[in-house]
Amino acid sequence: MPGYSVCLPTFAGGSAFTKSIEWTELEAFALKAESLGYSAVWVADHFVLGHEEGEHEAWTAISALAGATSEIRIGTLVLGNTHRNPALVAKMAATLDYLSAGRLDLGIGAGWYRLEQESYGLPWVESVKERMDRLEEAIELMKALFTQEPVTFRGRFYRVTDAPCQPAPIQKPWPRIWIGGGGEQRTLRIVAKHADAWNIPAVPPEEYARKSDVLRQYCEAVGRGYSEIERTMETRVLITDGSSQADNRLASWLNHWRRTAGHEPLANEDAINRAKSVYVIGTVDECRAKVEAYLKVGVEHFTPYFLDYPDTTSLEIFARDIMGELGAVPPKRQGTLDTQGPQ
């Protein structure tokens, strides 16, 4: 039985129907998702994805969401490891898990967006290998801070000395760690070693199956149970009635991102077909069939953006006619609650 959560479009262009990232709307969408039974809300960690139309800073956003919600889990998808000191990230995560009564999903990745890092004066690490090495070392450091007391750690890149990290997270041994990416040389190996959940941007079902096999092999190699790692996928959802208005919005949204990535825009019809082939877009029956195709190749949890945001039509229909039909598990929480914690 799969899980379903929601990516909040906290950057202009996350939705196909609006560029607005007005906070009360974002919060209302999160609360709506909570009431519909979605298991988590996610925020991406970038600074300029929305260009001049804006983007909210991820950690501030999910912390505020934690204060405004009570049941739904909250997570980052995913923090850029090079944006912050990972020891500080561990402290931030421990605090947020503590404040939210154990609702944090800590998604982290190596960081890839050179332009924003350089413009912010963050040292850009050109070597992919080093970014991966840093990611892995950061995760090891964070896990130490979550579980030992105090910690002295001497790595190649990061160090702490007699560092406490209290109050400790509620979830034991740590907040669920999500690692994002599909790189087969290194990312999937790190996933095999360290992740509680693996996330990848939308790929066709066959591709997902193939990458899952690679992950399975890495799990065997590092001695980790393949079934311990929740297999998840990010995507976009738009449940349409096939009207031309929705199609035009879709086409211009897809072309916006194509242009941003330096590609030529596609003609409307091609853009629409492209979007429909990559994402979960179509009538409710078409969308259900696509979801089923992913379930068949082992996707256990979907983390979509709903492209008609701030409208909640797709969000509601998806919950009622797809989640309801195909079943949905309650949100996964890590370990047993620490009953010595607050209260």
């Binding site: 001049e52 402290k91 605090t95 947020l96």
Partner: protein, 357 residues
Amino acid sequence: MAGTPGFGFAVPIFAGTKSVHPRTPLLDRLDVAQLARSIVEGERLGYDSMWAADHLTTGIDGAIMEGWTFMSWAAGMTSRMRIGSIHLAQLFRNPALTAKMAATLDCISRGRLDFFYEPGSPFSRREVEAYGFEWLDDADRMAAFEEAVQIVKLMWTRDRPSFEGRFHRILQAICYPRPVQRPHPPVWIGTFGLLAASDTPEPHVFDVIARHANGWNSTPASVDHCRAVLGGLRQACERNGRDFGTLKLSLETEILIAETGGQVSRLQELVNRRNPGSKAFEDWPKLGETFLVGDAAAVTRKIERYVELGIDRFIIWFMDYPSLDGMRLFARKVMPYFGAALGGRPDRGGRLAEPGR
């Protein structure tokens, strides 16, 4: 500067009994529910702001909430009260990212952020190095801090700004959405009240304040110390072409307040019992010069003396926390004297006087 002072409270996000920390002398352990209660009630009582510390290893067992996470969480559960850091450590976070975080919090909170930024004091060295941040000597730390303040303000107010400093840089950095407050959230920079008035407390920080801050703050300090610092600030403003009258003045302080003198004494005894051997609570009369101890009348009189100096914002640690009695009593009997009562004047952000350069 003149007019109704604002009263905010510091939220106890670390425990300090057993002589661990004088700011929270009766708090044994953290309690999220009580923190949430104090925030919600504080807003209801008419406190105009809440403030959260930014440290990594403070308190019993080194247990302290991460400051920015806590402020953002509080933004999600409040709607009128301003939210400030006391004080946000420049060394912990890239300045451009700090500006972005602040812009986001200001948007989320609909313009309630008070941005109180700090270079780090010698007391911070241990936690800075424990977490693997690089410590800088006094001069470098202040220089890095001044660069960071400039970067933050550029990010908030200019289109794709660039800045090349010795310690920090940005290159056509984008920070959208802008903060809600215009021209930007108030920037507070502080001095330390622990130094004797006769010391020359950090003349350079006075210049940084004169050049960049909307407001000045001191950690708990006597009236005399404040007077001396204000003198130094006036001179710094003159040096830097800044109209001293545009600088807001605030004081962090601790208050032990109860209905009667007898109750105050019992609380003092309790503090001493729970903090044996603590230097901070050895000499209550002396402590009364920098903290405010007494019944409502006594506390009111003391606050009046600071208000006479021009201080118009108080950030209060209530020493009896986790009890909310002191906080409630202060709101009921002291705040109205200054015209700041229930439902009164929580909206103190918005229009700023510019540093005038």
